[in-house]
Amino acid sequence: MTPEHDDTVPLLDVHELRVGYPVAGHDPHLPVDGLSFQIREREVVGLVGDAGCGKSTAALALLGLVRAPGRILGGQIRLDGRDLLTLGDAELRRIRGREIGIIVQNPRNALNPMLSVGRQIELAYHAHNPRDRPADRDKAVEMLSMVGINDPERRRHAYAHEMSGGMAQRGLIAMALSSRPKLLIADEPTSGLDVTIQAQFLDQMWSTVQDTGSAMLLITQELGIIANYCDRVLVMHDGRIVERAPVTQYFAAPQHAYSQAILKLQRDDACAGGELDDAASPGNPPSIIDVRSLSKRFALRGTHSFVQAVQDASFTIERGRTLGLVGESGSGKTTVGRCLVRLLDPSEGQIRYQGDDIAALSRRAMRSYRSRMQIVLQDPFDSLNPRWTLGEALAEPLQLHTTLTRGERRTRAAELLSLVGLSADQLDARPRDLGAGALQRVNIAKALACEPEFIVLDEPTSALSPRSRVELIELLQRLQRELQVSYLFISHDLTTVRYLCHTVAVMYLGQIVEHGSVEQVFENPRHPYSTALLSAHLFPDPEHRRVDHPTPAALQGEIPSPIDLPDGCYLAGRCPHVIEACRSHAQDLKPLPDGRTVRCQRVTGGELGVGPSPVSDHDR
């Protein structure tokens, strides 16, 4: 797969590229500062680096574009020997789209909201291949089909706001590759997509690029993507490349400190279970929270139908332990978290907190529990009032639940900051002065203010870069050890779940489909959905690249709508093991001999044996 190192002219040769944002009176920190690298024909190169390190700026600069008020300050970008930065606007427009294509994050925003996707592909193609309208239209249909969109003749009339994220991104690829460019730049193409959709999409993109014979520069923060799709890795830090290596070598022996830091989570052998058990609470700790048959329905405005967001969820969390809740969009995991802290009121079921059922308590009665159970939300910036200082934010829970004086509150706030590894000088800073990782620590500090026993963490690391993610997970572990606090850890990132959690529950369309210890579920998933989820998860193991061992599509199609749920198993429409009985019988959670529970009659009935697990192939 890796092209031989030859002496021919590379397809793309970037030399000392510099891009900056001149701001009057400030020393411009150049996001791109001396960037140099090469890409050969048909190579798939991964570019990895922290958020804000300038990857997207660099990507746009390769096309000679920069977001105002930035400027390209210097360097050379040679495409097939020609320096793009010496060309005029008209010539650059000829090259963009024809020689270099690009797809970006947030595909729905990149599409023109007023034109159909088919028309946009026609225009993109026509710009470089002027032909008549019918020929353009045929090309659009052909491209849509090439990127894996079924029924392209009909779907080409779709508008951006009608398309899912996955479909929109495929639309962008269709546009970008319509003129068969020699290089495709993919800038974080899967951010925001569900795990299984992401795997589908990346497989599709990779094979399309192979078909058109293009090289690809795949820009991402996710090491899993790099490991599974790329031939070579470039690491960008502080505006320049700090490490470059073939992919297997990179993962086996990272050189730069930054690489070593972000590979830490993957390289640690210990799975959470063993390590945590001893450190946190030995033996059989008492249960803190005991959820029984929790259900939540949302009525749809203007109609009589409703969305069953959560159905019959039951689980227990012990003191000092962590339960992971994983699933994709529509799984209901976020709803469960919100119900537990009563941000939402459950439709049915019990939530026993240390024996007391809090599911139906009034707001007033809930108040005394509020200091004992807290929640940390996904977006660290959004969770803090932008007008308040950090000190004021941390004092808010103290004001509500303690009788500390003003001075005492401030002292406690400083304590909390140092508890999460931040300096007490930050008390008077505002949220906009800090980065995402630091802010999320503040949110955790705020949750700890009243010494809770239980914290719901709703995707706390999703908005963070890999490095901040590692640091936050380590912080959470330490806090659990020191304070004996229990967590409900909601996430779609299986790597962090594996590291942090003791037990895990997999959710699909509102139901728990498998529930057991982390070793049980991750090493040997039994429910077909868990299997599919785990196989779609891109483990950062370049020795077993996904593209080298084509995995048969474990699950067909997209996640169905939660409004019209079928009578039988919810997975029936997509499951490779489906039989007639699956469609007619509602499935219940039943235990397996090893103690876990699975919601699949075929599995619990012993019909589906223990096959080769997708996880063990990737391990060690």
Partner: protein, 307 residues
């Protein structure tokens, strides 16, 4: 390389690129706007007393034109060295014998007072109602929005006229009429902002702490929802002055002989055809500059918040 920059400049992909570089220290709009507004405010306080003549009394000189530009310096010197018996009519006099200059600088007291009071009243009412309507969504607030819609569909000028003419042409009634016209705008602006702020993370976070809804609305949502209303303030003052002047122009506003720019333009209108331009032109220049000053300030506030 410079051509690539040209290419870059033609694409404009920034998050927010303000029209002009707001980091520049000397923002001409800010300076001009502040100067004008400050001057008008000062005149509102002292205008009626610093003029050479009493703005509400007529003089014997009727329809006297202002001095020509070449005469002005000489007159200035003569005036300040006390050589003249009566002060010159710097802007001439109108058909009734009022000194135009004195009335022009006395008018801000009426115009600005009305405009400021009306704006303040509609802003306070509008923001309060907008907060309630946006945050507490129940039948009462939906009804409130319907009422606000109906109020907003009243033809602006006519409803102002009706309120003033039928309630009596007093300053209070003009203020109330203008407040009636402008409140729905503030309601709408604030409500829209509140609707988007109420689903922010820090609101949920406060709720998870057990804070009461009213406290959340006032401590968290309100301060973060004021921006559109603040931007609208300055511009509204300007429009209120225009509306007051317009109302007075058609006879449904301030009562004569109160000095007010619109009224002055109205009484001077008949003379324009005869070539006597000064009774209408000078007050017009005053309004023109004043409203522009408020608009400029409003724009500066808007740009500061955008950047």
């Amino acid at each position: 390389m410079s051509r690539a920059e040209i290419a870059a400049a033609s694409t404009e992909g920034a998050q927010r690129a303000p029209a002009f570089d707001t980091a520049r220290r000397f923002d001409p709009l800010l300076i001009v706007g502040t100067l004008i507004v400050a001057t008008v405010c000062l005149l509102a306080v002292w205008g009626p007393v610093i003029g050479p003549y009493d703005p509400t009394l007529t003089t014997a000189s009727v329809a006297v034109p202002p001095p020509s530009p070449s005469e002005v310096p000489g007159l200035l010197i003569a005036q300040f060295s006390g050589q003249l018996e009566t002060p010159p009519h710097w802007m001439g006099t109108d058909a009734n014998g009022y000194d135009v200059f004195s009335r022009v600088i006395a008018a801000p007291r009426a115009d600005l007072t009305i405009a400021l009071l009306a704006t303040a009243l509609s802003a306070i009412l509008g923001v309060g109602l907008g907060l309630l309507a946006g945050y507490f969504r129940n039948i009462a607030t939906e009804l409130l929005m319907r009422v606000s819609d109906v109020m907003q569909s009243f033809p602006v000028f006519i409803s102002a006229m009706v309120l003033v003419a039928l309630a009596g042409r007093s300053t209070t009634n003009i203020v109330i009429a203008l407040a009636f016209v402008y409140t729905p705008i503030f309601v709408r602006l604030t409500r829209a902002e509140v609707l988007s702020q109420r689903s922010r993370g820090f609101v949920e976070s406060a709720r998870a702490l057990g804070t009461s809804e009213l406290t959340i609305a006032i401590r968290h949502v309100l301060p973060n929802s004021l921006t559109p209303a603040l931007i609208q303030l300055s511009v509204t003052v300007g429009f209120a002055i225009l509306l007051t002047a317009g109302l007075s122009f058609v006879g449904a506003g301030v009562r004569p002989p109160t000095p007010e720019w619109g009224l002055m333009i109205s009484t001077g209108a008949n003379q324009i055809i005869l070539g006597e331009w000064w009774p209408s032109v000078f007050p017009g220049i005053a309004i023109s500059l004043t409203v522009f000053g408020f608009a400029a300030l409003g724009n500066v506030v808007e740009r500061r918040h955008d950047a």
